[in-house]
Each structure stands twice: as structure tokens, then as C-alpha cells.
């Protein structure tokens, strides 16, 4: 457990962007698939209780950025599949730009610090 403490936590809002990005590239996914994919991409660097994905999905659903429907999983079980909407894609582009700007900005500050 103690090792997980050093893994970065999740910034508010970034999980939303991760979910949107993942859905945009992979197409419809159920919650488990999404969690797995996000962990794969973060390469274990992310401390994510997979359950926390669901409140995020609900939030996105309420904003009509994703939509969901019931279908059959690969194993043939009933599962809920999430899919990004057009509004979701627009929001994703907007948030990605924001994020890039924030990162670039933070980057500058972070670099600045040791030189002082």
C-alpha cells in the first residue's frame, strides 16, 4: 500500500479528459475496458481506484458528452457501453487545448525555478 502513495493522484477534471480521449480513440467501451486501457496507457503510474471511473462517467453523461447503452461484452455478458458524443468531442478538443496551455505554462514555471 505504501508504494501506491507515491503514485500521482488525480487532478480534478483530468480524469474526464482521459476518459474522453480514450473513448475517442477506442470507440465504445464498457467501464472495465476503459479502466484497463487507462491503466495500460499510464503504465501503472496512476493510482486509480477503478470504481472512481463511474462517477466521472455519470458526470460526462449528464453533460451529454458521452452516451451509454447496454450491450453484450466479449464474454457474452450484459454490460453498459459508453461512447463519446459530438458535444463530447468538441469539449475534448477545448479541454485538450486548455490542458496543453496549462502544461506549457506550468512547464515554464517549473523550469524557471532551479535557475533562480
Amino acid at each position: 500500500m505504501s508504494t501506491e502513495d507515491s503514485k500521482p493522484g488525480i487532478l480534478q477534471g483530468t480524469l474526464d479528459l482521459m476518459v474522453l480521449r480514450t473513448l475517442a480513440t477506442m470507440g465504445p467501451q464498457h467501464g472495465f475496458g476503459l479502466a484497463k486501457r487507462i491503466q495500460q496507457i499510464s503504465d501503472g503510474a496512476l493510482a486509480l481506484n477503478q470504481g472512481t471511473l463511474y462517477p466521472a462517467l455519470l458526470r460526462l453523461d449528464q453533460r451529454r458528452w458521452v452516451k451509454s447503452k447496454w450491450g453484450a461484452s466479449e464474454a457474452g455478458r450484459r454490460a453498459r457501453f459508453y461512447e463519446i458524443t459530438a458535444a463530447g468531442r468538441r469539449a475534448m478538443e477545448r479541454e485538450s487545448e486548455d490542458w496543453a496551455r496549462t502544461v506549457a505554462l506550468m512547464d515554464r514555471f517549473v523550469r524557471l525555478a532551479p535557475e533562480e
Binding site: 464498457h30 470504481g51 463511474y54 455478458r77 450484459r78 469539449a91
Partner: protein, 882 residues
Amino acid sequence: MWRRFRAMLRRARLDREFAEEVDFHLAMLEAEFRQRGMSAREARAAARREFGGVARIQEIHRERRGIAWLESCARDVRYALRGLRRSPGFTAAAVLPLALGIGANTAIFSLFHALLMRLLPVARPEELVNLYQTGGWIRGHSSYPLYQDIAARTDLFNGAVARTGVEKVRFRERPEARENFAMREFVSGNYFQVLGVRPALGRLFTADEDQVLGGHPLAVLSYDCWRNRYGGDPAELGATIVVDEKPLTVIGVAAPGFHGIQVERSTDVWEPVTMAEMPFQSPTTWWLQIVARARPEIPRKQLQAAVNVLMEQHLASNLPASFKAAFRKRVMEQRLEVRDAGIGVSMLREAFAKPLRVLMAAVGLVLLMACANVANLLLARGAARRKEIAMRFSLGASRARLVRQALTESFLLAAAGAALGTALGFWGTQAIVRFLPAQAGDPLSAGPDPAVLTFTLAISALSALLFGLVPALRSTAVDPAAGLRSESGGTAGISVLRRALVSAQVAFSVVLVAMAGLFAHSLFELRSVDLGFHDQNVVAFGLDFPRAWRGRDFRPAYKTLAERLRNVPGISSVSYGFPGPFLMGRASATLRVAGSERTAAGPANVATAEVAPGYFATIGTPLVMGREFDQHDTTGAPKVAVVNEAFVRAFLPGDRHPERHALSFKDGEPAWIVGVVRDVRQKGIQEAPEPAVYIPMGQQDLVRGGATMLLRTQLPVASLLPTLYREAAKVGTGWIRNLGTLRDHIDDSIFEQRLLAAIGGFFGVLALVLAAVGLYGVVAYSTAARTGEIGIRIALGAQRGGVVWLILRDALALVAAGLAIGLGGAIAAARAVGTLLFGINPLDPAAFITTALVLAAVGIGAALVPARRAAGLDPMRALRQE
């Protein structure tokens, strides 16, 4: 209720779905861990760890679902409130007509519901039927022998009850208490049992407590009477009360909420029917109402057929042999109609149901107009807000979201309208009830009903959808790019929809104004009828005498009271008569007139009245010829009579000297005609006067009460009251009934027409105002949109008059379209209300032409302001603006 139930179901479903989703996730994780070689138990634990607290996630999920909904609702409400506060003019223009519309509907509906819809608080009210006598000349009532025949038919009914009307009688809470009044109803012993009403205290009558005439001095109190007069004291059981001078023992209190079965009257105290001093054995005294519980398995048609047979047999075996053939024939025409009595019985319903239906339809129209008005305002504002909406679209708001927001605003407007409307409705109901004659009772005496509130909320919500949905869809149908580009924030011209709405408003108002015109004209005709007496400054009242006086001659009491009142300052003339001059009963007799061809073969029937000296002078009926009675016309003097003009026309046509004739009643000595008076409409305004003979009261053998005292005075009735009570007490009677001016009596007799004219007029004016506002809005808006075009016209030399005409033509086209549709509707409506009109044709040209002219005038008036503004346009400025 339903919505909350649905929401609950929905919540349960969402919880279930989410649980399934989590289960699936855990199962997938578990399978993965198993593949890595964990044991089943280890795998399950690992899966749960990886997922995080399952219960907590579910909790968060559930909360978030609720909050999001609430939050967005709260946001919508705040946003809408802000918008409404920012434009108070818009808000007032939308809410006020809406409140009037909702209030009017609430007021009329609360009466409509009470009189025509509300079920009695008894067991299975839908089974109850009223056996209502029609045909012949009796309305509604039956004789006691007929009741017994009906009650015996257990094959048709599960019990039948008989009741009298609810009467205001003298009442003492205790034998030694001061006398006041209470509402008393006589009922058969099985009354409560058959209706399924339970006692709140003690017991109620049993089926055998109506067997002995005068032998059951028992009383059941209503719950309200017990609470209000005795403070709900249980010790009241077994106590003695005094009703109409009869001591009765209280045996019980009826269940709360039960006030008897007559809608407009609330009973305080019930007595067994055999305590009524009525001729129980007489098959020709019709005084009871019969309500029975029909056997549910018998179809109504079959029941009616069986009742028809029953009635025929009853009449055939009960008719006295003394009845003459013609009379017998009329009696045999009587029928018993099986009517629904689940909504109670009502005397008021007969006369008032139709006016109420008309009013319900009229206020429905008013609400529709108010809705059209709001829709129009919303459309106008939606057009002005295109830019804002386009902006919000491009910021990522969905259309559904914007529609919801617009609808929230509509619901807020409707809610404000409903709140204000409920208050107005309450006030309106009171105002309408004041139109009802005192003796008609109060249909709302049973108190407010939740059904009325439900109705108000339902029509408010429905209105919100009606006026809100189309503008909401319309205003959000914006192409974001185009919306943002457009400079003025609006489109040129005005939508067809808004024009249609204004034309619809005009059409509605045509119907309402035409109806108002018809009712007003009809009332005017009623008011112009010559009644044969002065209605102003004549006060009338009746007297009640103690029981001990029965059989005595009441003449000295009337005479003494009249003499005393004559000396009261402010009273210029006093007289009395039986029956009184206007709807105060009717008496008739058969007579022969010496020298009249009409009675040469046999006697004829005329209306009669016994009147005191000065009767005609007091009520202001002009003498056409001869004299009226004076104090010398007493038993010792030669017999005399006064007749009316209708009598002369009928019996002595063309005779210039009626005073040379004598008339004789059955076996009586001849009475000489000493005077002829103008016809008095004794049977009501709408009834033609009939031949009448007046006989001096002084020449009657016995006067048994029932006479009406008449005073000519300028004093208001209220200021007379103490004097009247004091003087009446001095002649031995403390009880005055039906006190009022003759004008009051006349008003009461035509209350339906007065009500229709008053309400019709009020809403006719409101409809005109709404139509004018709607027209003004549309014309002003389209004129503003055409500023550039008009500027060019003026610059090119168009005359001011031409410009004014340009705008006026536009408005008049809208009015013409509305008139065309509205007149069609108005004609249909006029046909439907034809029976409520007096003295005019339903297609009364005066009313219709006036309506058309008024609307044209309103149209021109509404358009003139923007038209003149347009004509005064400075072309240079207008063009620069463009």
C-alpha cells in the same frame, strides 16, 4: 403523487442498473486475477481492492444523479427569475391576464364542481338515484304513499329514503336558551342506514323510528352543529333541544363532513319524518324527495322502465274519484324520472346548471386568450433573444437544455399566475355566491375542496405547456452562425405564427364580446318589462307566528302592525296582502262574471289575492279606473272586488264599464267590481300576467298568515330592522322572514341572467384589452422592423396618410381574419345559449354588429399609435439607422 411514484421507480431502476454494471466490472477483474493464478477468494478480495469501496462509489453515484438534476433545475429557476425580474413589464403583461384567466376558471369550477361533480360523503354514492317527479306540474317532489310504494320495491332498490327540504327553523340549544335559527331536515328512519353514514357520537335513527305520527321526538345533530353550538360536548347526548317550539332529545351526532344530501344546504339537525305535521295519507300532497340505492345489477334503462310501471299503477290506484276528467288526465301525465343522486340533490342545479356550463366555457376561452397572449409575448422575446441563444448554442449548450430552460420560465409564469389566480378565484367565488338569492342556499357551504386546487394546478401546468412549448421550440431553432451574424438580433417582418395568434385572440374576444352583448341586451330587456309596480322604495317581509296561534285569525296582528308602522317616521305607506305582489305564492279560484260570455257556460279559473287597504298605493300600481279598497270594505259592507286589465281583456272585452259588473266565486254572494288596476307580474318577469281578482282582506272570514307586509319608504332596509323587530314583537311575533326591497326580490328572480351579464361583461372587456395589447404588440413590432422601408417610402414622397393607412391596413387584416373566425364561433355559441336569453333573438343583430364595430375600433386604436409614429418618421434618420 404520480410523478413522485414514477421518480421512485426510476430511482430504483437506475440503482439496479448501476449495481449490475459494478458486478460486471468486479467479475471481469476477478477473472483476470484468477488467470494470474490467484485462488477464488484471493481473486475476489483483489478485485474489490482494485475497484475501491463498492458501497461508497454507489453512494456517490446515487447522490450525483440527484444533485445534478436538482442543480440544473435550480439553475434554470434562478436564470428564469433573473430574466423575469429584469423585465417587470413583460412579467406583469404575462402574469396578470393569466392570473385573471386562472382565477376565473377556479371560481367557476369551484361552483361547477360543488353543484355538478362532487360526490356525497356517503357509502357508494354512485348507486344513489333520485326519483324525480316530472310531467304534470309537480317538480321533483312525491307524496308519502308514493314513497311507501317505492320503498316496498326491494327488487329494484336496496333501500329508499324520503326527506323534506332543509328549512330554516327556530331553534333553542337548550329549553331555557335564547331562540335563534337552525337548518332542519325531516328524514325517514332508514336515512342514515341506507346512505351508509356512521355516527360520530351516540346513534342515528333506526328504520322503525318513523312509524308513529308525532311519536319520535328525537334529533340527530350534524357534526358541525355539535362542534359549533355545543363545543363538541359529549354530554349533549340525551339532552333536550327545542326545534320549532318542539322539545326533542338528542340521540347522536352524524359523521363529520356529512351535511345532508342537498348540495346547497347544510343540515344542522335531523328529525324523523313523522314529526312533520303533514298529511301523510294524502296521495296528492307532494312534499317529499325520494332518494334510493339502486340495485347495481339492474341496468338504468330497465330500472326506469320498472319505475314507469310503478308510477302508473300508483297513480291509477291512488287518484281520488272526485278528480274531474281533465284534471285526472294531467295528474296521470306525471312521471318519475330516475336521476343520478351520487352528487346529491339540488334545487339550484335545475336553474343554474346551464348558466354554469356557459360560464365554464366562457372562462375557458378567457384562459385560452391569456395563453395566446403569453405565447405571443414569449415569441416576441424569443425573436429579440436570438443572438443570446445563438451564443449559448455555440458555447455547447444542447437544444434540449435551452428548451428546458425556456419551459422553466413558462412554468414560473404559470406558477405566479396560479398563485395570484387562486386568490382571485377565492374572491371571485365569494362574489358569485353573493349573486345567489338568499333562499337558494349556498352550494359551497360544504367548504373548500382539494379537487378545486388540483384543477387549478392542472390548468396552470397545462397553460404553461400550451403557451410555452411552441415559443420554446421556436426560439431555440436558431442556426448559431446565422444568429450571431444578424446585426439587429431579429429578423425582418413578423412570423406567421404571431399573426395567427393575434387573429386567434381577436376571434376569442369576438365570441366573448358577442356573448357579453347578448347577455347585457337580454338583461336590459328583462329590466325594461313593466312589472306593474314600483320596485324601488318598497320593502316587503313575511311574519312567523307562534304554534299556539294555529287556527286563529291573524288579521288583528297584521292590522295592528300595519297601524303601528304607519306612525314610524320615514314610512309613508303600509299595507299587506296574500299573496304578495311578486313571486310570493299564488292563489286561485273559479268564478263566474255576470254578463261575460266566457263564463256563460261554466266557471273559469283566475288568480286571486286578498289585499288590505292602500295595497296598490303602497306598491305603486296605477289604478286604471275606479277605486281601491279602504277601511270601510269590511264584512258588514257590500262585497267588492278589484280586477286587473288582463281580467277585463279576458272576461269583459270591449266593455267600457267593468264597474257595472259583479263576479261570484263558488257559492259566494256576488262582489261588485269597484276598480281596475294595471297588470302585476306576480309570477315573475318572464311570465305574462294572468287575469287576477283582488278581494279586500277585511271581507275575508279568516286570515291564516302567509301575508306579505309592504312598506313604502326611502329608508334603507338595514336601518329599518330594529324598528321592525320591535313592532313585530309587540303584536306577538318576533320572527320576520324574507325581508328585502321588491327590487331585491326581482334581482333574486333573475340572478342567472344578472350573473351572466356581469361576468360576461367583465370578461368581454378583458378580452378586448388582451386583443388590443396583442394587436398593438404585433403591429408595433412589424412597424419597427419596416422602419427602413417606410423611411424610403417617405423619402420618395409618400404621403403621411398613405403611411398610416399602410400600417392600419395590416392591423385591420388581422382583425378581419379574427372577426371572420370569431363570428362563426359566436353564432354557434349564441345558438347554444338561446334558452338563457329573454326577449331577444340569439342572432340579435344589435349584439353582433356592435361586436364587429367594437373590435374594428379596437383594432384601429391599437394600430394608430405605431402608425402615427411611423408617419412621423424622419426619413434621414431611419435610413442612417439601416
